[in-house]
Symmetry: C2
């Protein structure tokens, strides 16, 4: 195995487990059962213990969405919003509505203030980045922070509702509203 690959696989596995089973369901034992690593090397890869694993997973999840958004910089605002929703649609589809957002999972179960603050930074970064993309996509600058916050909040909630209800309906309704509203506001 290449250098550091075991660590990377564990971090990716932690993101998946956070999304599907929540923070407490993301134990080292579960992560290793998914990634196949060795129990004894956990504190070699993560001297900071579980918090270091979760921190790395939050960064990976945050960077994943951030990179996907950056790929549509310059496109019309409604396409930017559609891309953000497509990210979550793919996650729901790939897991048959079983997975949600890893950052949200940490937010609602965080026992340590550090983890909660880390999740908060990622949400804040997403809002800033999305607002900037919306402005570049033709949205009136004064409305961008509002629509960015609404989109992220509504999408996170819609993913959770779809998971719990085991139905695409909440997600579909929220998606069509957000895309239509953005089109109206940026035309």
């Amino acid at each position: 195995m290449a250098k550091g690959e075991a660590r990377s696989r564990m971090v990716a596995g932690a993101v998946r487990l956070l999304a599907e089973k929540g923070l407490e369901g993301t134990s080292f034992a579960e992560v290793l059962a998914v990634t196949g690593g060795s129990r004894g090397s956990t504190y070699h890869h993560f001297p900071g213990g579980k918090n270091e694993l979760i921190d790395a997973a939050l960064d990976l999840a945050g960077a994943h969405a951030s990179a996907a958004l950056e790929a549509v910089r310059g496109r019309p605002a409604s396409e930017v919003i559609a891309e953000f929703l497509a990210l979550w649609r793919h996650l729901l589809a790939a897991t048959e509505l079983r997975a949600g957002c890893a950052v949200l999972a940490v937010t609602v179960a965080a026992d340590e203030p550090d983890l909660l603050a880390h999740a908060g930074r990622i949400f804040h970064d997403w809002r800033d980045q999305l607002a900037s993309l919306l402005v570049e996509g033709g949205l009136e600058p004064g409305r961008a922070p509002e629509l960015a916050a609404l989109t992220i909040a509504a999408t996170e909630g819609a993913v959770a509702l779809a998971r719990a209800e085991k139905s695409w309906e909440p997600f579909d309704l929220v998606e069509s509203f957000l895309v239509a509203e953005t089109r109206r506001a940026s035309s």
Copy 2:
């Protein structure tokens, strides 16, 4: 102590702990530390174990919001939306942005399908009830399911973002948009 009071107190304590510490943070030990009951009587009050406690907590949390909504039946749609948001604003204010939604906490951490389905039923009931209130409040019936789903999803997300960022900004932005949009759509 009156008959059944210990049980009721434990259920209420479970709602608070779910909102602040998530599903796994809501252990019998934690609940009893908050409500003051006795460890030995847990399986007297809850023969079904922890799942019975969480089920009861979900019902209480669901009924609480449902009753508050029912109290504004007949009022204009924008006031109905404002009331729903006020529910969560009070929770955030009372806990200095530390608590969130108990139903969402179960959704993202549920290990048992039964608990997830129970959370889903509550979300679905909220959507149905809110849509009906919006129609009675003057909203065009075709738009009610969409606006109900958007409001619940966006509010759940906004509460989570506000908690994580320790800032009222996401909640304020989402609230002002939803109220304004409802006013536009129902005038």
